[in-house]
């Protein structure tokens, strides 16, 4: 094997704050190479330096035996680097085909796009991932998971020497992850290298050959996965002693211990359209109710219905004895909160500061006579930055400059700060690192222990199975049963999802 890519002593600072200070990585041909590190360690920045999105302040890059002088992502693609960025940069209003083919459309007479051929090719590319969708529909009309798979499919179809995947599985469920792994192995067998960034350490052991660990903008080590353990990797990321971490325990969520209080919310036989056709659930004070299901099962749709985003076409929602909200604003006043799964499209206001993003849902409570109480605002924001360990230069930094995981923490803080009675969390730990994930799970448990209720959606079965006190199982827009903790295992959940008809207990 020979080396395909060598990045050495890379430095990059933003406004005088170093994001990378001497980071290095070397990738062999035909190797699946993992890159790990805490939120804000510099993984995405490293990738963007490589593909020319950012210009490095120092260091050398050798790609395919030559000094790399890429200055635009477009050039990177031309030299054989295909990238799936963490924040997908697809065009939601355009069709799936346009998104997959963008820049590489098959032409007739050298000018006119041959749409029939384009659709055909797109369908073929997507079929490799087992996605069978209408490619003429706008991409935005599909779920985040589908969008992510489309981005991956596009990158993989580009005939690259190196495929970079920045947290590709963050919104995929187990079966989709399996498909992805199949594709990754296929790439490796074809001699293509893959750079794989992920916070799911178990995944790495399944498909990666070597792993580079980053901490605070520097590389702290590179080892073969066969010669290390998960504990050692975590210790490397955090810069702590493995024994210490082992003692603290790994997962901490503890579903099933809840004492149910009064009923907060009931949904009876509700429907909002074809994607949610019959949904029932009850939530009490002090408990976490999970929504379990596969892609397209209607989990997000259920959350949107509860929060008053989508109007009901049937059924009844009762909130603390009162009726259902008709808009998000009303829902918030009635004591609801909803963390969306799509942080870029529906969560962050990119140009606004961390402070303004964090208090957005809280504004009515921070306001007297229309004026925002800015002292209290700053104080609250600082409290949550500290509590969630949000890595930011200061609270006035635009949120788009934060790393993905840190953006996620700001959005979670937006809702925690509001202290809603009912908090609906759609993928709350998407993109956050192992350490922070555990902290967030503890924060959620604390939250319900204080007498609030949480509806939890997670495509990570482990999080759901361990965290939820009960799981409402959904399939194709219908709730088909309920599981109760303690006693739920991933196996039982998968069974419940598979045997869709006869689930009861």
């Amino acid at each position: 094997m020979t080396t395909l890519l060598e990045m050495n002593a890379i430095r990059k600072a933003f406004n005088g704050v170093a994001a990378l200070s001497g980071a290095s990585i070397a990738i062999e041909r035909g190797e699946v190479h993992a890159l790990i590190g805490q939120n804000g360690a510099g993984k995405s920045t490293m990738i963007k330096v490589l593909t020319g999105v950012y210009h490095r302040d120092g260091g050398t890059i050798l790609f395919n035996g030559a000094e790399s002088v890429l200055t635009t992502p477009r050039e990177a693609q031309a030299t054989g680097i295909a990238t799936i960025y963490q924040e997908l940069n697809l065009v939601p209003l355009r069709s799936v085909t346009e998104n997959v083919m963008l820049g590489y459309e098959p032409k007739r007479l050298g000018t006119f796009i041959n749409w029939r051929e384009a659709h055909r090719r797109t369908r073929e590319i997507l079929m490799r991932f087992g996605i069978d969708i209408d490619v003429k529909m706008p991409l935005g009309s599909y779920s985040t998971a589908i969008q992510q798979l489309v981005a991956i499919a596009r990158a993989v179809s580009l005939d690259a020497k190196l495929v970079i995947m920045d947290e590709p599985t963050s919104s995929l469920d187990a079966s989709e992850v399996k498909v992805l792994f199949g594709v990754v192995r296929g790439l490796r067998d074809a001699g293509v290298s893959v750079l794989y960034v992920s916070h799911f350490l178990d995944e790495l052991f399944e498909i990666c050959d070597r792993v580079t660990t980053m901490r605070d903008g520097q590389t702290v080590g590179c080892v073969k996965l066969a010669e290390t353990t998960k504990l050692e990797l975590i210790a490397g990321m955090l810069g702590r002693d493995p024994d210490e971490i082992a003692q603290a325990g790994m997962t901490e969520f503890g579903g099933g211990a809840a004492k149910q209080g009064e009923v907060l919310l009931t949904a009876q036989d509700i429907a909002t359209g074809p994607r949610l056709s019959k949904f029932d659930m009850t939530l009490h004070r002090g408990e976490i109710v999970g929504l379990g299901g596969l892609l397209g099962a209607g989990r997000t749709e259920a959350a949107r219905a509860l929060f008053g985003v989508d109007a009901l076409t049937r059924g009844k929602i009762t909130l603390k004895g009162a009726g259902a909200p008709n808009s998000p604003a009303e829902a918030i006043r009635a004591g609801l909160g909803f963390l969306t799964e799509d942080r870029k499209a529906e969560g962050i206001i990119p140009g606004m500061s961390v402070r303004e993003n964090l208090t957005l849902a809280l504004l009515p409570k921070l306001t007297r006579n229309g004026q925002i109480d800015r002292a209290r605002e700053r104080q609250l924001v600082q409290k949550y930055i500290d509590a969630l360990g949000i890595k930011t230069a200061d609270m006035e930094q635009p949120i788009r400059e934060l790393s993905g995981g840190n953006q996620q923490k700001v959005l979670l803080a937006r809702w925690l700060a509001n202290e809603p009675d009912i908090l609906i969390l759609d993928e709350p730990t998407r993109g956050v690192d192992v350490g922070a994930k555990r902290e967030i799970q503890m924060i959620i448990r604390d939250y319900v222990d204080r007498g609030f209720g949480v509806v939890l959606i997670s495509s990570e079965f482990e999080e759901l199975v361990e965290g939820a006190d009960r799981i409402v199982v959904l399939n194709e827009g219908r709730s088909i049963g309920e599981l109760k903790n303690p006693g739920i295992t991933e196996h039982k959940l998968v069974q419940a999802l598979a045997h869709t008809d006869e689930v009861t207990a």
Partner: protein, 326 residues
């Protein structure tokens, strides 16, 4: 973090232009005029320019708010004409002659209310019926001036009314009244944007409307409010123009003002996709637009060429904005 060695300390023209392009442009124009335009450094010149700038600035500030939500308002010129046409009709009516004080009050309040109603129409079209802003405001752009001309039978209406003319010719501390008015409005709007919940929502809606709505932002109300403020300010500007001229000409009052206002807002740093509301930038933009007009006029360049120059400014401003993105 260990060693952070900032390497971007060297002075570069690019970033300087990008961040302070408006100020740089202003200095260039001023320097040019001082050197080449006869009688530029005279008080009279200052007065003329302030009274002209004030109307552009007042409209541009409203436009800045609309643009901050990701919208645009093409109807401001027409609304100016409408408000301007109404005022003399009121204070010259029998009622206005019988009760002069009340007549003046009504001549100020009623046109502003009508302008506000125009804004509400625009806002409802955009926020409730989801019509694209450019189309929604095109309706009044076309019909508003028509209504104004019908009201005045298409005639030029001259009048002499000292109290009303104060709006356009009065002086406070030696400077034109409308200049102070524009400044006061700027301060108020600046505080609204930076300190109030309404202002925060305006920026949030422009930054990411879906996110703003899901975080409980009253998107519909805020958008309607923004169009109402914009139209109200346009109405005020229409009154000022009429007061300056002691005449109302529905065909010319506010003609092409939408372009000046949009240009001033953009030159002042407003992003057309929304999310930013540089109020004082709008004033700076208005000053630049007015000075360019004045410079060309004072140096004998024809009106048509002046239009091309204006287009050039917009182009330059948009170009600078494009390079601002990382």
């Amino acid at each position: 973090m260990s060693q952070s060695n900032p390497t971007q300390t060297s002075l570069q023209i690019g970033p300087l232009l990008r961040d302070h392009g408006g100020v740089v442009a202003l200095i260039v124009i001023l320097a040019f005029n001082i050197l080449f335009t006869p009688n530029f450094l005279q008080l009279q010149t200052l007065f003329v320019n302030i009274s002209q700038v004030a109307t552009i600035a007042i409209v541009a500030m409203g436009m800045t708010l609309v643009i901050a939500t990701g919208g645009i308002d093409l109807s401001v010129g027409a609304v100016m004409a409408l408000a301007g046409a109404l005022a003399p009709l009121i204070f010259q009516s029998q009622f206005g002659v019988d009760y002069p004080a009340l007549g003046i009050a009504a001549a100020l309040v009623v046109p502003l209310l009508v302008a506000g109603a125009c804004g509400m129409f625009n806002g409802v079209m955009v926020a409730v019926l989801n019509v694209q802003p450019i189309i929604a405001t095109l309706i009044l752009f076309i019909s508003g001036r028509g209504i104004a001309q019908v009201l005045t039978n298409g005639n030029l209406q001259t009048f002499s009314n000292k109290s009303f003319s104060y709006l356009g010719t009065g002086k406070v501390l030696g400077l034109p009244f409308q200049g102070w008015l524009a400044l006061a409005i700027a301060v108020i709007l600046f505080l609204v944007i930076s300190r109030t919940i309404f202002g925060r929502y305006v920026l949030a809606i422009g930054g990411n409307e879906r996110a703003a709505r899901l975080a409980g932002g009253p998107v519909t109300k805020v958008k309607i409010g923004v169009y109402m403020i914009c139209a109200g300010l346009a109405g005020l500007a229409g009154l000022i123009v009429v007061a300056i001229n002691s005449a109302s000409d529905a065909a010319r009052n506010g003609n092409l003002m939408e372009l000046d206002a949009i240009a001033a807002a953009v030159v002042g740093g407003a992003l057309l996709q929304g999310g930013r509301a540089p109020i004082f930038g709008a004033i700076l933009g208005a000053v630049i637009i007015q000075l360019v007009k004045y410079t060309l006029l004072a140096n004998g360049v024809e009106d048509e060429v002046a239009l091309i120059a204006k287009a050039g400014i917009i182009l330059a401003a948009v170009y600078v904005q494009q390079t601002r993105k990382e």
